[in-house]
Amino acid sequence: MDNENRPVFRGTPKQERELKKVIEKHKNQPGGLMPTLQEAQGIYGYLPYEVQKMIAEGLGVPLSEVYGVATFYSQFSLTPKGEHRISVCLGTACYVKGADKILAAIEERLGIKTGECTPDGLFSIESCRCLGACGLAPVMTVDGEVYGKCTPESAVKVIESYLSKEV
């Protein structure tokens, strides 16, 4: 891992206590690494090097294995996410109904690409594979809230509604 470009780790003692509890819970469970990483990401929002190291030591597995699993699955993130997480569904049903145009409109509005976070840390954009809400295609979510039957215009309006809440 590149040490120089890593964002500063700002974990709190409270988070660390929670993580220790999680590690304790899964320590002797067969296949406990995945649930540990999932709950750790729930605590910290992402899986920085420091957290991976604590998990490796706590569970008694090599750090390389923790890193290997954390980088294999798309839901684990090694970098912090935006305060508001935008996710555009690129499942087939949504794609056929023009999800690519929605993603492009949001990228243009925020000036970032999918997978990136705005410089102020407010928004990050992800694409996801099918939320199973195909009846409402095309679909996007912001912080887990689902917005269905989107158009590029309505999607941008949704983003702007979050922006105006911030001011």
Partner: protein
């Protein structure tokens, strides 16, 4: 609690009327109502589709209104999916069976005031198909969407409250488990499953009874049963709906499978993208444990069975059976070579049975109603029903369950209500990134395992995406390759490199730079991948390209030879043009063009410089006179 058959029967008796009411039509129900605690039952869909369109708010509004008006004889039930996801939030009022669609908070208040209190159904809020010209109201199962359907796997979805185990028991729940544990040998269960003809609903169609027989025959002190709920095919949501609407059916079937092969532990591997399904499963497992239907000494027979949930983390390859097991073990979800097959050496190296959610959803009913009943449904080699997630360019988007052998035409034109906006049906895609497309000329193909693979597609897990004339088949093939390329785990090189090379060839073609040799390369590479990739992901990754190339070769040729995209989807091949007769010379397009590609003077027709144009479409969406067209 130690569950006994007497207790089970008692719970069933106690809840029978409550649930039976929802399966009857008004006249039959009135007699039953006299004994019932509730005069009316309001069912609201709490599945992902309806929740996304706001069913929670509708439930809150209904409950608030009921409390305010002090209606103690009205019950609100949150159910699983009714199937018509595009019409959500869906509300059904029993005993009338009035089907309200796209219900709002205001609508909910009117339902309480006018229908529940006033006794007058709000006809303007009903799903229009259920209102006849003479004003009569049809029950839901008489509408075109439901008429040809046959619900076995979805039997309880939209009927029971999935968070209440007693409602599941009321409809014969856990009776099959009792029957198996007290009166059937392991071999008898296997024989029943074999005779029923049930085949794996995950896509490959392997006979379920055979799978169980192999695992039973494997020697080992510890064995496992697993449920594959990692529904990764984008555009498919059958398994999600079953888990959300009827989680106990899966738990019961897994316990039956465990007894049959001699396992005492089970895992359900669910996608983390399905939070509602996960919650319902957690509740269901806790309730089953509480009622003694999971855990130690079930029905006093000495049979123990524990069930755990494991969440996926967004890797499509984990839907492959060996990769799924590797993932449950907490590792990178990479597939393992077979043999050894999971029935011999599966999870944690022990003999394992892994079935798909929908497969399990059929098991309890086969045990209760018999193999003969099940095998009487469907075709010669494909028995029973199949659930499809109907999506894309179709009027009735939603979940449908039809007997095997139903034709694609019946699904699209009758159940699906046809293609919207007067467009023409072009192709249907089954099997997602592993499947192929079915062109309009094969619309009368009966849907069963053999017929679909004969025409170059596959049953798949049940995603059925309908495409119309505005869908570019080369672009769709590219879309699926982007998907498999991103989801290839990288373990074997034919898949890791092959998917990327295929994608690059398709990108070249959609960019207008393709050559005829590229088509030969695609065919050669595809045939290599089919035989040399480690798992099904790679072996089938080329299917979307091969089948579109087979049926829509002329579309590929248009991209390569004529440098045009007939569906007008591939950006690089589009040409924007101003129709000079229609152009008023308002200059709006020229002012908005980001690359200054439009020239012209005021009140004179403008012209687009094709070399400069980046095909962003801004001019076309701004033009007030419809003077700009795409060629």
């Amino acid at each position: 609690m130690q569950m006994t058959i007497e207790k089970l029967n008692e719970i069933q008796e106690r809840n029978k009327e409550l649930v039976a009411l929802r399966k009857l039509i008004a006249e039959q129900a009135s007699e039953m109502l006299e004994h019932s605690q509730y005069r009316k039952q309001i069912l609201v869909c709490g599945g992902t589709g309806c929740t996304s369109s706001g069913s929670k708010k509708v439930i809150d509004a209904l409950e608030a209104e009921i409390k305010e008006k002090n209606l103690t004889d009205v019950l609100v039930v949150k159910t699983g999916c009714f199937g018509l996801c595009a019409l959500g939030p869906v509300v059904i009022v029993y005993p009338e069976g009035a089907f309200y669609s796209q219900t709002t908070v205001e609508g909910a208040k009117r339902i309480i005031d006018e229908h529940i209190i006033g006794g007058k159904i709000c006809k303007d809020l009903l799903y229009p198909e259920t209102v006849c010209e003479n004003g009569e109201i049809l029950p839901l199962n008489a509408t075109r969407f439901y008429k040809k359907q046959m619900r076995i796997a979805l039997k309880n979805c939209g009927v029971i409250d999935p968070e209440n185990i007693e409602e599941y028991i009321a409809l014969d729940g856990y009776k099959a488990l009792h029957k198996v544990l007290t009166s059937m040998s392991q071999d008898e269960v296997i024989e029943t499953m074999l005779a029923s003809g049930l085949r794996g609903r995950g896509g490959a169609g392997f006979p379920t009874g055979k799978k169980w027989a192999f695992a039973k025959a494997s020697k080992g002190d510890i064995k496992y049963v697993c449920c594959n709920a990692d529904e990764g095919d984008p555009g498919a949501f059958m398994d999600r709906s079953i888990l959300e609407g009827d989680p106990h059916a899966i738990i019961e079937a897994m316990a039956i499978a465990a007894y049959t092969i001699g396992a005492h532990e089970g895992y359900i591997y669910v996608r983390a993208e399905y939070p509602i399904a996960v919650d319902r499963l957690k509740i269901a497992i806790a309730q089953a444990n509480e009622y003694g239907l999971l855990g130690k000494d079930i029905f006093g027979t000495g049979f123990d069975f524990n069930l755990e949930i494991r969440l996926g983390a967004g890797a499509f390859v984990c839907g492959e059976e060996t990769a799924l097991m590797t993932s449950i073990e907490g590792k990178r979800g990479e597939p393992r070579p077979r043999p050894p097959f999971p029935a011999v050496k599966g999870l944690f190296g022990k003999p394992t049975v892994l079935n798909n959610v929908e497969t399990y959803a059929n098991v309890a009913q086969i045990i209760l109603k018999g193999a003969d009943w099940y095998s009487s449904i469907g075709t010669e080699t494909s028995k029973g029903t199949k659930v499809f997630a109907l999506g894309g360019k179709i009027t009735n988007v939603g979940l449908v369950e039809v007997p095997m052998g139903t034709t694609l035409r019946e699904i699209i034109e009758e159940i699906g209500g046809g293609i919207p906006d007067g467009k023409k049906f072009k192709a249907a895609q089954t099997g997602g990134p592993s499947g192929g497309c079915i062109p309009a000329c094969h619309i009368d193909t009966p849907i069963d395992y053999e017929s679909l693979s004969r025409i170059g597609s596959m049953m798949g897990s049940g995603g059925l995406i309908i495409m119309d004339e505005t869908t570019c088949m080369v672009d769709i093939a590219k879309f699926y390759l982007e998907f498999t390329c991103e989801e290839s785990c990288g373990k074997c090189s034919p898949c890791r490199i092959g998917t990327r090379r295929l994608l690059q060839l398709l990108e070249k073609i959609t960019a207008g730079k393709g050559t005829m040799e590229d088509l030969d390369k695609i065919e050669e590479l595809s045939s290599h991948m089919k035989v040399s990739c480690l798992c099904a992901l790679g072996q089938t990754a080329s299917n979307p390209v091969v089948s579109t190339l087979k049926y829509f070769r002329e579309e590929y040729l248009a991209h390569i030879v004529d440098k045009t995209c007939p569906a007008k989807k591939c950006k690089a091949l589009l040409k924007y043009r101003i129709v000079s007769d229609k152009c008023k010379g308002c200059t709006l397009c020229a002012r908005n063009c980001p690359v200054k590609a439009i020239k012209g003077t005021v009140k004179q027709p403008h012209v687009i410089d094709g070399d400069k144009c980046i095909r962003c479409g801004v001019c076309m969406s701004n033009c007030k006179f419809g003077a700009i067209i795409k060629d």
